[in-house]
């Protein structure tokens, strides 16, 4: 695999990938993003940004705090302390 790794944060970077590379990346994302050993609960934290923490859940509302307020409790995986 090519040692130069580009980030996907910037769409233009992503489009720089050749088609073959994009297909590879999409295939990897299709698997590693929400398959495999999927652990949720108090003991797992992600260091990613908010929107990526919820990649699998496709958050409709605009922020974690709002969701928490509506549900009345911290979301699993969003907080450091267990409820």
């Amino acid at each position: 695999m090519d040692r130069q790794i580009k980030t996907l944060q910037d769409k233009n970077s992503y489009l720089d990938f050749r088609k073959q590379e994009r297909v590879t990346l999409l295939e990897i994302l299709d698997r590693a993003l929400d398959k495999g050993v999927v652990i949720s609960g108090d003991i797992v934290i992600s260091v990613a940004d908010v929107d990526l923490v919820y990649l699998g859940l496709k958050v409709l509302l605009s922020s974690v705090e709002t969701m928490e307020r509506l549900r009345g409790a911290p979301m699993a995986g969003a907080q450091e302390e267990p409820t």
Partner: protein, 293 residues
């Protein structure tokens, strides 16, 4: 220091084919090519007779998300050469080693079961695309031709004719329901055609794969997204099967990939006991099943 986890292995000494065995907490025994993810060494944390493969994570690693998915994958695939691996979902990070060991304790039976089941097996993927618009157009054409055939006798006259907005005597409600009904019939036929095609395509691999996971019509054009669990020694049979499939004439286009770590075949039976855990997927899934959408 947070801990990033790549996967679970069955660290059975006889199975190790990497030149040097792992040593806990150090990289002194490590195969050089497994260094990465922020330049941190990759090592194993054993738990009973299995191990979690990890590396330590820099707190400031904001770029971890997309940049590292390729690294994550590379490391898991490297591990596959020597062990049975249960790949972790990307971005599984633990606050402390204690948390990680709690997790290992919680899921231990699940891990053991999966490691046994997935031993010496790999995953292959196949995606199939078809031209949904063309398929639907064909259905519409057939629908119009067979309007007066006996099968349609059961329907009230209202629906035998298609919607006709030019006739002023037809109320908007009539037009509306005719249009909706036509859409419904076409959609139904479309779904049945999809099932037929999927059946044909899937049959190619049934004899070779141990298990499979099929996702149908993720989009109108993405007819099938399937994963197959295949024994390592049957890989070539599998590849031959898709060589054959690839060459069949018709509207279908194929994408084959593999071998992959067995992402789609890890099944965890234990759910976290956290009261907070709210499984939207589960609930909506059950709702949708009752409606048979």
């Amino acid at each position: 220091m947070k801990i990033y986890a790549y996967g679970i292995i069955d660290s059975n000494p006889e199975e190790i084919v990497l030149p040097i065995p792992f040593k806990e907490g150090t990289n002194s025994g490590m195969d050089e090519s497994l260094r990465e993810l922020g330049e941190a060494p990759v090592y194993n944390i054993p738990y009973r007779d299995i191990a979690v493969i990890v590396s330590e994570l820099n707190e400031e690693a904001k770029e971890i998300t997309d940049t590292y998915i390729l690294e994550h994958e590379r490391i898991v695939e490297r591990l596959m050469e020597g062990f049975t691996v249960l790949p972790m979902r990307f971005l599984t990070v633990f606050n402390t080693k204690k948390d990680l060991l709690s997790m290992a304790e919680f899921y231990y039976e699940d891990f053991k079961d999966n490691l046994a089941r997935l031993h010496n097996k790999v995953e292959f993927g196949m995606k199939v695309i078809w031209p949904a618009d063309t398929i639907k157009q064909r259905i519409v054409d057939v629908y119009h031709k067979t309007k007066h055939n006996p099968e349609r006798i059961g329907l009230p006259d209202l629906l035998k004719e298609g919607p006709n907005v030019s006739i002023s005597t037809e109320s908007p409600a009539k037009t509306f329901v005719k249009e909706k009904f036509q859409e419904h019939i076409i959609e139904k036929e479309f779904q049945e055609e999809a099932n037929r095609c999927i059946q044909v395509v899937d049959d190619y691999f049934n004899r070779i794969a141990c298990e499979k996971k099929l996702k149908r019509l993720q989009t109108e054009n993405l007819l099938l997204n399937s994963s197959y669990l295949v024994e390592k020694q049957r890989q070539n049979d599998f590849k031959q099967a898709f060589e054959q499939l690839k060459n069949t004439p018709g509207d279908l286009k194929f994408l084959f990939s593999g071998p992959w770590p067995c992402y789609n075949f890890v099944t965890l039976t234990k759910k976290p006991s956290s009261v907070d855990y709210f499984n939207t997927e589960d609930m909506l899934g059950r709702l949708l099943k009752t409606q048979d959408l």
